[in-house]
Amino acid sequence: MFAINKIWFALFFLGFLVAGATGRVEETTLALIAAMEESVNFTLGLIGFLAFWSGLLKIAEAAGLTQKVAGALHPLLRHLFPRLPRDSPALGAITLSLAANLLGLSHAATPLGIKAMHELEKINPTPGEVSNEMAVYLALILGGVSFVPSTIIAVRSRAGSAQPSVVILPILLASLLGTTVALLTHLLIKKTRKESKN
């Protein structure tokens, strides 16, 4: 439906087409070259944080902490991930990453999420392809449900808002609805795929 190859192609093709029409070819090329450098800097910036948290998570895992967290939150997640056993490392990593997102710890959430994806790939029945569990997990992440939308609150308070955190509840409601729609979309597509196979 939305092939990444087509989208990527369209961004470049339409971009340079418009650049040609508006006489901004040179600027666009320079921006592209700047983006290459920016990608490297961004990766380097991310790597330090990612590596530190991966190290810490390895300790958490060795101490049996992730399994404990998974066990505690299992009743909540078991309906979404029925195939993952109660104390599986995958469920533990998923739980921790969702908890970080809920608390608005966006920096810590990314390494935790990557860890969860690694665990899911280990038990992926079709390695190298998106599994059902990955799709469900990513629907939850993309929904972006959070009790503390920290960045938004920060931007609002910097702009001199009298009530920067007044948006917490509306944001929670909107993101819950978005998450539900994403989850339902996945379940519907999964169902139609299964039926077309039979």
Binding site: F2, I4, W8, L11, F12, L14, G15, F16, V18, A19, T22, T28, A31, L32, M36, S39, V40, T43, L50, A51, W53, S54, G55, L56, K58, A60, A62, A63, G64, L65, L103, M117, L120, G128, E129, V130, A135, L138, I141, G144, V148, T151, V155, R156, A159, G160, S161, V166, V167, P170, I171, L173, A174, S175, L177, G178, V181, A182, T185, H186
Partner: protein
């Protein structure tokens, strides 16, 4: 709330280290091992960042993005959405920093507690940056075909966008 967010990361570090010590884990050596694995994942992400940042830079700088936003103005009128809001909804799934930039600009102009400022804040917080999340999370495990996940994410974004508009209107009446 503020204390919680200031202490969240230190507390997490302290709890993990304390549990490790208590369980007799060799904390330093285990950390090094895990950090090495994290480093590898980080480098693996570079090609994905190159692809998405490069494409977005071309699309934005060329003026294609603002053209796209301008073409959408009639739709905004049709759906009775404030014209300034629709570009925010279009940028939201593509770029996190772009969204924050748009939001900061909008609330600077209209005031953070104005009806438009509130609506923009709720839209900006109502979903994740779909393309960025899929790039990072799938890239980390080397999956380059997102299958139906882009469509799934964008439908979720669309639902959150309209929900944010409706909710912000209720919110201001009530």
């Amino acid at each position: 709330m503020k204390i919680l967010s200031v202490w969240a990361i230190p507390l997490f570090i302290l709890i993990v280290l304390a549990c490790g010590e208590y369980k007799g884990v060799k904390v330093y050596e285990t950390f090094i091992e895990g950090a090495g694995a994290g480093l590898k994942t980080g480098f693996q992400l570079l090609p994905y960042f190159l692809a998405i940042f490069g494409a977005l830079a071309v699309f934005k700088t060329s003026g294609a993005l603002s053209l796209f936003c301008r073409l959408s103005t009639p739709f905004a009128r049709l759906l009775r959405i404030p014209e300034e809001i629709l570009p925010l909804g279009l940028v939201k799934p593509l770029s996190g920093s772009g969204t924050i930039g748009f939001l900061a600009d909008l609330i600077q102009k209209h005031g953070p507690d104005s009806p438009l400022g509130l609506m923009a804040s709720i839209i900006a917080g109502g979903s994740e940056t779909t393309f960025y999340v899929l790039t990072v999370y799938l890239g980390a495990v080397g999956i380059s075909r997102p299958k139906h996940l882009i469509g799934m994410g964008l439908l979720g974004d669309l639902a959150a966008f309209f929900a944010a508009i409706v909710i912000s209107r209720w919110f201001q009446i009530g």
